[in-house]
């Protein structure tokens, strides 16, 4: 009995050694890529990783989901502290400044140059690249899954309510909403308390600052000012629409979020990410006519570009040199026009390079029914050259500041709290967070 066990063990050991020695495995450098997608988006990213592994023989990428953007950042931090960080991490927009000050990464440009790739950095849309670049314009991470907020509306419902105009200003949104309501629709405009759409995107398209100086780009001494801008008018305007029963809150606490509210045709207008375009197209009843437009602006306001959302890919410092060769190869691979187009098709994310976008436009991608309208996201992102208010948001611990804002919005829209008082309080508490962040990184400057 004992002998058999020993023999089996030995045989196993031999087999393992033989496998280990086989050239196919021994020569491949394996490296990890952590990301925050789940569900369909995760499957699509796994497809991309598989394609990369099939296309070359030197490297093997292991793509591992961390369940959400926030968890990816948290796990990357924990792993970095334990010196077990992945070679590449997908970090969402709100984590950008935390990453930049961490010194735990290798700048995008340096990585590609060191590994012999020439990238035309000017090929990235400035409206996208600026979010992840230093003040001097040096890209720190690779723009990957980029999105922006869009205005979705149900054309069928518009026709039934006799609306002939497009909802391109807030005044028209209200007018359309009143007509929809008169036609018997219970939720003309569905909204939630997500500061990304409500505060950030609104402020950008109206060229309003969220914080000074330059939304944090010019220093860690940033001060939140959104409680003194047109954002206050917007909150009051939506509050007025809520009182008219034109605007209706849809949150997961109430049992239905805005994307589902739109695709189930409960609500006829929403603001949400262009990344949801694919899912909404798949889930809305076949034959429904709907479209996306750029976010509305107030009448008499000059429209500016919206902000890029989504995430970028950061290459983490402290990995063996061989892994960086692989990481660079992977980043180069997914940036190729055909890969960029494939990714943009199967998700809803927009192409991040001009050549990628031009190629897709040329082959008629945006003319086909399920993808029609997605080009307006690019239009929105490139509507004007980036300014201090539309370049991006570079604030520390920004997730927590977002939470202060959404709590204020919740109090305003659910509990009828005073608009100005709540926004003042959110700004004050947000500023305390910024001051703590500034002290944590005392002596460091933004570059």
């Amino acid at each position: 009995m004992k002998r058999i066990v020993v023999k089996t063990l030995l045989a196993g050991l031999l087999a393992a050694t033989a496998l280990g020695a086989s050239p196919a495995l021994a020569d491949k450098t394996r490296f990890e890529f952590w990301y925050g997608f789940t569900g369909d988006l995760s499957d699509r990213l796994q497809d991309a990783c598989k394609k990369f592994n099939e296309h070359q023989t030197d490297f093997e990428i292991a793509c591992i989901s961390q369940n959400s953007y926030e968890e990816t950042l948290q796990n990357t931090i924990a792993a970095y502290r334990a010196k077990k960080q992945p070679a590449i991490a997908q970090i969402y927009d709100a984590g950008t400044l935390d990453m930049m000050l961490s010194k735990a990464f290798i700048p995008a440009k340096a990585l590609m140059a060191d590994n012999g790739y020439t990238i035309d950095w000017g090929n990235y849309f400035p409206g996208i690249a600026n979010y992840y670049a230093t003040a001097a314009g040096e890209l720190q991470s690779f723009p990957f899954n980029s999105s922006t907020a869009m205005f979705y509306y149900n054309i069928d419902a518009f026709q039934k309510a006799g609306i002939t105009f497009k909802p391109d200003t807030w005044e028209k949104v209200e007018e359309a909403g009143l007509k929809l309501k008169a036609a018997g629709y219970e939720c003309p405009f569905g909204f939630n308390f997500d500061p990304w759409q409500m505060l950030e995107q609104f402020s950008a398209v109206h060229d309003q600052p969220i914080a000074t100086p330059a939304n944090g780009y010019k220093g860690l001494d940033a001060e939140l000012v959104f409680n003194k801008t047109k954002f206050v008018d917007m909150v009051k305007f939506i509050k007025k629409m809520q009182d008219e029963k034109v605007a209706v809150t849809k949150t997961k606490q109430l049992g239905m979020d805005i994307d589902t509210a739109f695709s189930s045709q409960t609500c006829q207008m929403i603001m949400t990410s262009i990344a949801g375009h694919g899912t909404i197209g798949k889930t809305i009843a076949p034959g429904t006519h709907w479209d996306v437009a750029m976010l509305p602006v107030f009448e008499g306001t000059e429209r500016h570009k919206s902000l890029v959302g989504g995430a970028s890919l950061w290459v983490m410092a402290g990995r063996p040199a061989a892994e960086y060769k692989g990481a660079a190869a992977f980043l180069n691979f997914i940036a190729q026009p055909d890969m960029a187009q494939w990714w943009s098709t199967v998700t809803g994310y927009i192409p991040v390079t001009k050549t990628g976008f031009e190629a897709m436009k040329k082959n008629g991608f945006y003319d086909k029914a399920p993808y029609k309208g997605r080009e307006r996201a690019i239009e929105s992102l490139t509507f004007t050259p980036p300014s201090d208010n539309t370049r991006g948001i570079r604030l520390g611990s920004y997730t927590q500041i977002r939470k202060e804002v959404s709590t204020a919005l919740e109090a305003i829209f659910m509990q009828n709290a005073d608009v100005q008082t709540q926004l003042d309080q959110a700004a004050e508490r947000g500023n305390a967070i910024l001051r703590r962040f500034e002290k944590t990184y005392a002596g460091q400057t933004l570059n």
Binding site: Q253, G255, K403, A411, Y441
Partner: protein, 296 residues
């Protein structure tokens, strides 16, 4: 005859204990030491030099009016949740202890919720009790806004207490049933002979004899309500601390501050305050309640 190993030198027993000691040091004292260290500094998320700030992190916590709200909400949640879970567990245990037909099945049914993870239970209840759909929708159709945890803070608090109690009643039930079954039957029978009905027997005979179990459950349930991972899981899955901070329990704030805000130092300081608070409660419980508990 008594069997006893005698070690002449001191290092042999130490060697036996060493793996355990290493594990305790590694997984308990080391993290605690890090928490104490971070509580007095401003720890950058990715590491690196951290400035010493003394008690500033504690002062920040105490200076925040919402922090005190979270202390109050935690107190209400833990007390109401613990007492309700114990009470329901007790009623169920008394019922099952009567040896009616089918008690075996009920025993299984009552313990089952405990096997469900807190966040999963929370998700289920969020849908069951969502104001615009599920059971509550028909209530709201009759009386508008009679139940809306997304709007009213007290409703939200009731909601998470219901989930907590639903989950932990099975746990208290098992302990209390075991306790009841160790009460000598002769005592109940004697009481019955004297003409005591089921209620009298429960109040005068069984419950006093359960006092040690009840006390144990009170301490553990209160602690669970304050710092349990389920407590965080439920709040995280159901209300996310809202509406307008109404369900921001202390433990939720700590995790939120640490992992969402990347404010490890503030969260560490709040952890120390929370541990201190639990120590005070446990002390009070032992000092004043345990005196009235009679162990056999």
């Amino acid at each position: 005859m008594e069997k006893r190993a005698v070690f002449r030198s001191g290092w042999v027993p130490l060697a036996f204990a060493l793996p355990q000691l290493v594990l305790i040091l590694l997984f308990f004292y080391w993290p605690v030491a890090a928490v104490v260290d971070w509580a007095f500094t401003l720890e950058p998320p990715f590491g690196g030099p951290a400035a010493f700030v003394g008690f500033a992190n504690f002062r920040d916590a105490f200076a925040d009016p919402f922090y005190w709200d979270s202390v109050l909400v935690s107190l209400v949640f833990a007390t109401v949740g613990a007492l309700s879970a114990i009470l329901i567990g007790l009623v169920l245990a008394l019922a099952v202890d009567r040896h009616l037909p089918g008690t075996g099945l009920f025993r299984v049914i009552y313990i089952l919720p405990f096997a469900v993870a807190g966040p999963a239970a929370g998700m289920a209840f969020r849908f069951i009790l969502a104001p615009e759909r599920g059971l509550a929708a028909s209530l709201n159709a009759l009386w508008p806004d009679v139940w809306n945890p997304a709007k009213y803070g007290d409703h939200a608090l009731v909601l998470i207490i219901i989930i907590f109690v639903w989950k932990w009643s099975g746990y208290t039930f098992i302990f209390l049933l075991a306790g009841l079954q160790s009460v000598p039957r002769s005592l109940s029978e004697a009481a019955a002979m004297d003409g005591a009905g089921p209620f009298r027997r429960a109040v005068d005979v069984q419950i006093p004899l359960l006092a040690p179990t009840l006390f144990f459950l009170l301490v553990t349930m209160m602690t669970e309500g304050f710092v349990g991972s389920d407590t965080f899981g439920i709040v995280h899955a159901v209300t996310a601390g809202g509406p307008n901070r109404a369900t921001e329990l202390m433990v939720f704030r700590i995790v939120d501050e640490a992992f969402h805000g990347l404010n490890y130092s503030g969260a560490s300081a709040q952890s120390i305050i929370l541990i201190g608070l639990i120590m005070i409660f446990t002390f009070i419980q032992f000092r004043f309640i345990e005196k009235r508990v009679h162990y056999k």
